[in-house]
Subunit: 117 residues, 2 copies
DNA sequence: CGGGATCCGTGCCGATACTG
DNA sequence: CAGTATCGGCACGGATCCCG
């Protein structure tokens, strides 16, 4: 019997610590779809994200090297975000999950409803 | 500017409701690696999952149609779980994420440490 | 404009005890 | 063996206020 889910050093647990959170995937695909974006543009694109959570999410993605941040020393300030090469390398896998969801979620959602009823 | 992350009917949010949780992906890859498994075997394979969380996770995956459950009317009871066809169709995408993690997580983890310091 | 700091509620998840 | 039931902690994330 295979058992490779060590508590430490498990790739699935590693990746869940980031993409398992609520906003990172949405931010990544938004940046991929639009290229370089300002903070306020991302916020408008993901209508219901709070200012705080967008800041936190972008900081985490920047720390992980998936998103780059460029500050223009202007008044009023301008800050632009875009995917790094590493960030772009994750996009195809997210797209694959999205494709899977588009194909299977209708059935799954109906199953959840009938189980609730 | 593209904006396709509707609060409702968004495939990314849909899929996060399941794989964003702590255990489902681990259970899916465990079942894929070992085929049909008994409850106690899954629990031994994922050492630190509690009995409660394994039960909850399996019930959710069963409701979603990703895992099938078969009860043998014996004493002591025996229950076997395995992936459905739909569940198997998700495996390649999880594997892709795992492959990405194996390639990039060492760098990401070192970035997180240096940011903490 | 793009944050930072703080407070706080909700729900995921863990621990424990009990059962057919 | 394979659950179910209950309690409670804790961290994710929302709301609000303030700043350069």
């Amino acid at each position: 019997m295979q058992n490779f889910h060590h508590t430490n050093d498990c790739p699935i647990r590693d990746i869940l610590t980031r993409i398992g959170e609520k906003w990172p995937m949405l931010v990544l695909v938004t940046l991929h779809a639009n290229g370089t974006m300002r903070f306020s543009d991302i916020q408008k694109s993901i209508a219901d994200i709070s200012q705080r959570m967008l800041t936190v999410t972008l900081r985490n993605l920047e720390t992980d090297g998936l998103v780059s941040r460029k500050v223009y020393p202007e008044v009023p300030p301008r800050v632009e975000y875009k995917l790094t090469v590493t960030g772009q390398s994750l996009i195809p896998h997210i797209d694959a999950l999205v494709g899977w969801a588009l194909e299977h979620m209708p059935d799954i959602l109906s199953r959840r409803k009938s189980r609730t009823a």
